[in-house]
Assembly symmetry: C2
């Protein structure tokens, strides 16, 4: 089957999604297949806003592999079902047919796997021969089937490292200044990133002393008692809080903090809310940090394991596509924990689409504030190794900005957004 390969990025980006992109493009090139990319994910397909990756130099593609963010633009755009929005699906197929796209690779999370699956089914009905393959990605680590999701290992490493470094700082200051440090991490629905913070310490009095998971309802009195006991025993206390922390009534703590002078819900996440409670009730001097996008774009300290897996799924996705495997996604299969052995295997998109891998309760200690040995066994290999980008003489990494040359349009403009 001749034709082109179309690659698109979707959802929140990661430190290594471009590592997958670079592998996709390099593998397609090696097979003599032209690779297009859609600008801003599925929106670019709908808009016939395509990029010819053939215009990028080999050097640019090498740099792409260590550049964070989504080089072709990502999107937050949820396709409806073909029944609810047949025009969108018809348009996707029209665009792909116009450009002789025969392989569609969608790099994203649960939603994207679902989208790829729907497009595959729709294409079959429409008579346009199209192979749809997923490429897994998400810092949330909530993809089913796969051992881990590319992107997670790097944010896990960044988070454990940040807890370690900031805690050493707090320990230095605690005698006459800051006694409580709160780090807010991503994870609205699942505490995978919060759990990874637990890798920073080994002993019972190592930081982080308390992890607040979205899976465990926040109990203010118990939390404050723990903080107090930790400060009295250790001299200081590091808390890691998931942005998705909820109280017993199921409300997000970040939204339960009251309203400001203008009557708006208080902004600023869960860390300042917790910090305020600590000050009011315990009187300790505190600091808090909210790295936000810094945690998922920290390519400068990406996990080498994560980067290797991101590249491997990109390569495999192309190979599956060219071999005619439709409706699949390469997943990571763990062979052993220590040493960590893994391989790539295909899984049906249907098994990944719309499933959510939850943090097992057995990964959280019985008291709800830490991680178990089982969690460590799972998490530890994912942050192994440092995939440093090259730096240039400015003292900053050599991150590439692609040309992103547009493919000439062949169709009328898309009528919808």
């Amino acid at each position: 089957m001749p034709g082109k390969l179309l690659y698109a990025q979707s959802g929140g980006v990661t430190a290594v999604i471009n590592t997958s992109a670079a592998a996709v493009i390099a593998t397609a090139r090696a097979h003599g297949v032209r690779a297009y990319a859609a600008r801003n994910g599925i929106l670019g397909v709908l808009r016939e806003d395509l990029i010819d990756t053939g215009k990028e130099s080999a050097a640019a593609l090498r740099d792409l592999a260590h550049t964070p963010g989504g080089a072709f633009g990502s999107c937050r755009y949820k396709l409806k079902t073909p029944e609810a929005d047949p025009a969108a699906y018809a348009r996707l197929i029209e665009v792909m047919a116009a450009h002789d796209v025969r392989y569609f690779l969608y790099n994203g999370g649960n939603d994207s796997a679902d989208t790829a699956l729907k497009i595959s089914a729709y294409a079959k009905r429409s008579g346009h021969e199209l192979i749809c393959v997923g490429v897994p990605k998400t810092v949330d680590n909530d993809l089913a089937v796969t051992d881990t999701s590319p992107g997670f290992g790097s944010v896990a490493k960044y988070t454990a490292l940040s807890v370690l470094e900031a805690s050493i700082d707090v320990a230095s200051m605690a005698e006459s200044s800051t006694k409580v440090f709160i780090l807010e991490v991503m994870g609205r629905h699942a505490g995978w990133i919060a759990a990874a913070a637990g890798l920073a310490g080994q002993g019972p009095d190592d930081a982080p002393h308390l992890i607040l998971f979205p899976e465990i309802a926040f109990d203010e009195a118990a939390f404050l008692a723990r903080v107090k006991a930790t400060v009295e025993r250790v001299g200081w206390c590091t808390v890691v809080a998931s942005e998705g922390l909820k109280n017993a009534a199921g409300q997000f703590l970040a939204e339960a903090g009251g309203r400001d002078a203008f009557g708006h819900a208080q902004l600023g996440g869960v860390a300042p809310v917790l910090a305020q409670r600590v000050r009011e009730k315990l009187g300790y001097k505190y600091h808090w940090a909210l790295p936000d996008y810094l945690q998922r774009s920290a390519r400068h300290i990406a996990s080498a394991t994560d980067a290797a897996q991101a590249a491997a799924v990109g390569r495999a996705a192309v190979e599956y596509a060219l071999a005619g495997h439709n409706g699949v996604i390469p997943v990571i299969v763990r062979g052993s924990d220590a040493p960590y052995r893994w391989k790539i295997a295909p899984a049906p998109l249907a098994k990944v689409a719309n499933h959510e891998k939850k943090l097992p309760r057995g990964y959280i200690t019985r008291d709800g504030y830490g991680i178990t040995a089982q969690a460590r066994k799972y998490l530890a290999p994912l942050i192994h190794g440092e995939a440093y980008p090259p730096y240039d003489t400015t003292g900053l990494p050599r991150y590439v900005k692609l040309k992103n040359a547009a493919v000439p349009r062949k169709l009328a403009a898309w009528a919808q957004p």
Copy 2:
């Protein structure tokens, strides 16, 4: 002159203050001088809470050089003048005399230089032969005389890198999601760290698009107009805001944001306040980050230039002390910008104590939102090179926790705090 060397750390710690500490101890060892450290800065001297660094292995000292934080504990404690608190000074000299301390090295900022100077003068009057030498340190870069302050180059590198990485992320998301990203950086009184963020971009439309300096009164209307124009032109906008940003009335913006439901001043720094204005007035989706201690403890991406200077001032301080130079501090003298050439020279502590190096107005562009070529020339070499720590098999850096063995006390307990 026989006797021991006493080293202490003061004020906010940095990514490389232990690099200076390791150099101090190694240099003292090389000269056959016993080195003590005070636990928690000057408090440790007052309390006769001293540490025998001779109990640390050579391997531990090598690891100390790449460990962030203050390994012996720092303090926020301002000594009064000898006139106001003669008992404290008498106690300091009593402790040093009891342990035959003949060299006192104080590693800190303006205040610490002043303290070292006062102790030197008091010792002279008291008849205890003591040589006092400063070791410069501060992420604020506000020390006079020296070209830069060890600690600043690393936070500058972290900040420029974070702006670069997060902005690549925002650029990926902007089409259908986040359009404004705000990074809050340290700098309550001077915009040195904010200025360093400017190194992330070169061209006029590169991030950061707007830097908000504490030196420039915040003009909300002008700020919002700039954000809007940037989003319309570039597609997204990165803002860097100093924690010390003030309005025209001289109030900190972080404290002017209103009161919460409990009547407390709103916590959370300046970034959420700015984000709220952006949402209210412009309707853009935003993200914001506040790295706090992460920025000054990020030893994992320390500037190699900064680390080299931190080691050099540590070595020089010991050499000056042993050569009998009292009341001096090693400073960095810039020979040329590109290539950056520097050397260490002694400066009188009196010239550093209580002076503050301000960010020159000529480093800020006329519009108040960016940095000039002059600023770049000064800042660029300071972030050059990556002083990576070694990592162990856990995927985390090999940061050391010293034994910090106490020196047996010889005196009665100190009566004061």
